[in-house]
Amino acid sequence: MTNRENASTLQQFDASTRAKRYRALSLSRILAITRNTLIELTRQKVFYVLLVFALLLIGSSIFMAQFSFQQEFQILKDVSLGAISIFTSLLAIVATARLLPQDMEDRIVYTILAKPVPRFDYVVGKIAGVLLLLAISTLVMGAAFLIVLYMREQAALHATMRQLSGAPPDQLADALRAVRSSAFDADLFPGIAIIYLKACLLAALTLFVSTFATSTIFTVVVMAFIYFIGHLQATAREYWLQEHGSALITRVFLAVVTLLFPDLQAFNLVDYIVAGTAISLAVFAKTAVLGIFYTTIYTLLAAFVFYGKEL
């Protein structure tokens, strides 16, 4: 039997399996791209290297027992939250920078966009995959941090009980309360949430830059530049709005920095949380709104630029 004869014996398509009528915005389509993106990103070695590094950094805080418990908890929180912040920021930029260029280089973008898939759905699905990856990473590292904090807290409590075994009960209670208050602070949760939102902002901004960047290296370098300038934006803003004696060119420069760059310093709340300052609901809510605003705007702009991109 020839191959041609083989082919003619194959089954007919079942008409009832014909795809549903096209819809402009489809959640299932976006979710399919999100899931695929997440699987693709978790297969990259850089993800595991960064994650292991971050977990090691968090775990290494266990060896701070030579300090007093206040010092130990201070360093543990700083190092752990710093590790979570560095890792999520790095991952946001590195994972997103290659997202669209990789697909275009491999021509898989043709296969996807030749289907009834709007470019908007494609871009949103891609960034959603990154945001999901960042959420999972933040949860894993956050959980590791809290476990280490709990273990050290328990060790400090036992040590305190041993040291004050003969002391009056109220003195012991005060000492134990001091240990607990140095260790766990409910404000750590909103702090970690804001770290995540900052990473989301960076991911969306990286996506936007990658839509008109000429190479992945260019995207990463530009994002590094934006990262530093973003932490100075608040200073530039205050100078622009308050200083009236500066030269015009200085004021224009400051205005561009203020308007174009995000205020990344506003998302560094963990420094204050670790220092023991309570974060009010107003501060948390406004910071969260700002983060969501930036993430949404950058995603929409990325979709806008990508819409007109010649593939």
Partner: protein, 255 residues
């Protein structure tokens, strides 16, 4: 072309986000979040690494790394290096009370004792001078710490302890314990300690007596042995009538 339009939109939206960011910054100031002021002075103070860390939002980690170095310097009794490191640390993290407190403790307690016991310095006068210089450094850390954290009682208490134990200045000690007591989160003993210190001040016995008596009248939780002892002392010194004195049974030693 679309990229240019997008950038223009971004600048336009910048005006939209400006009030939100300003509002947030105002809230931060209201809640006493103190960041780091970026200027050349800072760059000189904290060096290149610290400056980059401050720029990139990782000053906490750099401060902790310097803190560990300061700990090592303490173990090696390198007081000069410790002083420099703690200046960097407190510049990077002005809102962490632990750093100000530890810096002050190292200077005013550890370094000053080391200076007094310095075998290499035979002249007592110079050893005392060095000791007092370290007291001043410790005091300076606490005063600057208070400037950066005016709403927290801890550094006021630490400064009160410094005045009490090192300068033997009970009046100042009383003043700072009293300031601490007015702040949210202050422990209850701050009021007592302020009154105790005041009771040692010549010419302020009446004031001290009234405060201690006020605390006594609040209830059993304040009637601690030291309070009773100082109250009795002041009753004697001020010649308080018997009918107004606290009962004698309070004089019994409480084990």
């Amino acid at each position: 072309m679309r990229a240019v339009v997008a950038l223009a939109v971004l600048i336009g939206l910048g005006f939209l986000k400006l009030p939100i960011e300003r509002n947030l910054a105002a809230l931060h100031r209201q809640e006493h979040f103190r960041g780091v002021e970026f200027n050349l002075d800072l760059r000189e103070k904290i060096g290149q690494l610290g400056f980059i860390a401050a720029l990139s939002g990782f000053r906490a980690i750099v401060a902790d790394a310097l803190y560990i170095q300061a700990h090592a310097a303490w173990e090696n009794t390198e007081w000069g290096r410790m002083l420099l490191l703690f200046r960097h640390i407190t510049t990077l993290q002005p809102r962490v009370l632990l750093f100000w407190d530890t810096a002050a403790w190292h200077m005013a307690w550890n370094a000053s004792v080391a200076a007094m016991n310095d075998q290499k310095q035979p002249r007592l006068a110079l050893r005392v001078k060095a000791q007092r210089e370290y007291f001043a450094l410790g005091r300076d850390f606490l005063e600057r710490g208070i400037k950066n954290n005016p709403d927290r009682p801890d550094l006021y208490e630490a400064l009160a302890r410094l005045y009490k134990e090192k300068y033997k200045d009970h009046e100042r000690a009383a003043e700072y314990y009293a300031k601490a007591a007015t702040l949210p989160g202050a422990p209850t003993f701050d009021r007592r300690f302020s009154a105790y210190e005041l009771s040692y001040c010549e010419g302020r016995e009446r004031e001290a007596y009234e405060r201690l008596r006020g605390l006594y009248d609040e209830g059993p939780q304040e009637r601690l042995p030291t309070l009773i002892k100082r109250l009795k002392f002041l009753e004697e010194k001020l010649g308080i009538p018997e009918t107004q004195r606290i009962p004698d049974k309070e004089n019994k030693t409480v084990k």
